[in-house]
Amino acid sequence: MTLLLRNLGFWLLQWINHLGLTSVFLGQIIAKTGWYKGVFSDVLKQTYNLGCKSFGITTVSALFIGLVLSLQGIHTLEKFGALSQLGPMISLSILREMGPVISALLFSGRACSALTAEIGLLKASDQLDAMKMMGIDPLMRVIVPRFWAGVLGLPLLNLLFCAVAIMAGYWYATQHIMLDSGMFWANTQGAVSWQVDIKNCMIKSVVFAILLLWIALFQGLNCNPTANGISRSTTRTVVLGALCVLCSDFILTALMIGDW
């Protein structure tokens, strides 16, 4: 029995240590954000790697999610004669929940796993040590640009996701069941308020971006410099990232529910 308690206490202390280590890491990233020659071109290149390359998967997923949402919505609302509420249903579910969460999950799977693998490989092949030996801080020149590129890229992807999904839903409703487009947009505009819905959507997206990139960069830097170690870090990034996104989504929604 005491053995169990001792192990539990040890595990708890380790977990607290780990949390402290990761928090210090995040603090270091923010503290070392600074100008150096060529910083903008680095951030731009990383925005391309993280954001632009995820453009395809985000827009195609948004298209299909919008279509499915519209299809299901029509099927259910028809029974209540509430087809006029299709517009608000699609827009609000996308803007409030599905947009930020699904674009964050897609980003985590595509961009964050690639990021962890890349940094793990840089560490395993001694390139980060080589940079240190030249008097160049690898945290400032490798990690920080990737962090801010992701924090910039995910909210933009989120906007694209929401817009494409809503347009896809609108297209399906008006083309296939001949829903009146005026009614769709009028009801949507009545239900969606930009101060509350769109602002909260962006806040969620920024919070998710910070969490996902923090996890990805930390796992990359602290992986075992072996093939197995890199693969485990990459999977841990995706799994941990997904869990953190969903958990923080709940917390943020609970905080924001007063506005709605």
């Binding site: 954001g51 453009f55 803007l95 933009l156 906007l159 505009q189 308020s193």
Partner: protein
């Protein structure tokens, strides 16, 4: 780094940002309908109700079904203990003041509440013919409370 690749990166990131910005514009204007009130000049008028029912802030204020403003705030009048509602209206239309009536109506049967204004006649009093800032609408009609209606119906049915 080859020059072409550098150019391609700049172009892609620029396009990505432009598309995201367009998506934001779309979301703001088409999906949430920011056309009203924020851009135009407005003025405030007041109306007192005994029971506002389910009226909320940002509920539309209409004349003949056309939205001309929204409910800005709802307060409790400490003296008369009724609801003092502030209506924020567009400066565009001139609404005749004399004999003006404000009613709380429901969208459909179970929908949200909004305010419908029935304008008065052209006034004989030329100095105050149109609604202006700070006016208090005297004639008001409260929200229809469904429970009262059902109670009345049952009462009548019993008779």
């Amino acid at each position: 780094m080859l020059k072409q690749r550098q150019e391609w990166i700049y172009t892609s990131v620029g396009t990505f940002m432009v598309l995201s910005f367009l998506a934001l514009i779309f979301l703001i204007f088409q999906v949430s309908g920011v056309k009203y009130i924020q851009n135009m000049q407005t003025y405030d008028v007041y109306a007192n109700f005994n029971d506002i029912g389910g009226l909320r802030i940002h509920a539309p204020v209409t004349i003949s079904g056309v939205k001309i403003g929204e409910v800005y705030s709802i307060n409790l009048d400490p003296n008369a203990l009724n609801a003092k509602v502030t209506l924020r209206l567009d400066k565009n239309e001139k609404i005749p003041f004399d004999d003006i009536n404000a009613r709380i109506v429901t969208e459909g049967l179970l929908g949200a509440n909004y305010i419908s204004i029935i304008p008065g006649f052209d006034s004989t009093d030329k100095s105050h013919s149109y609604l202006r800032a700070g006016d208090i609408i005297a004639k008001t009609q409260d929200a229809m409370i469904l429970e009262n209606l059902i109670g009345q119906l049952l009462f009548n049915a019993k008779k």
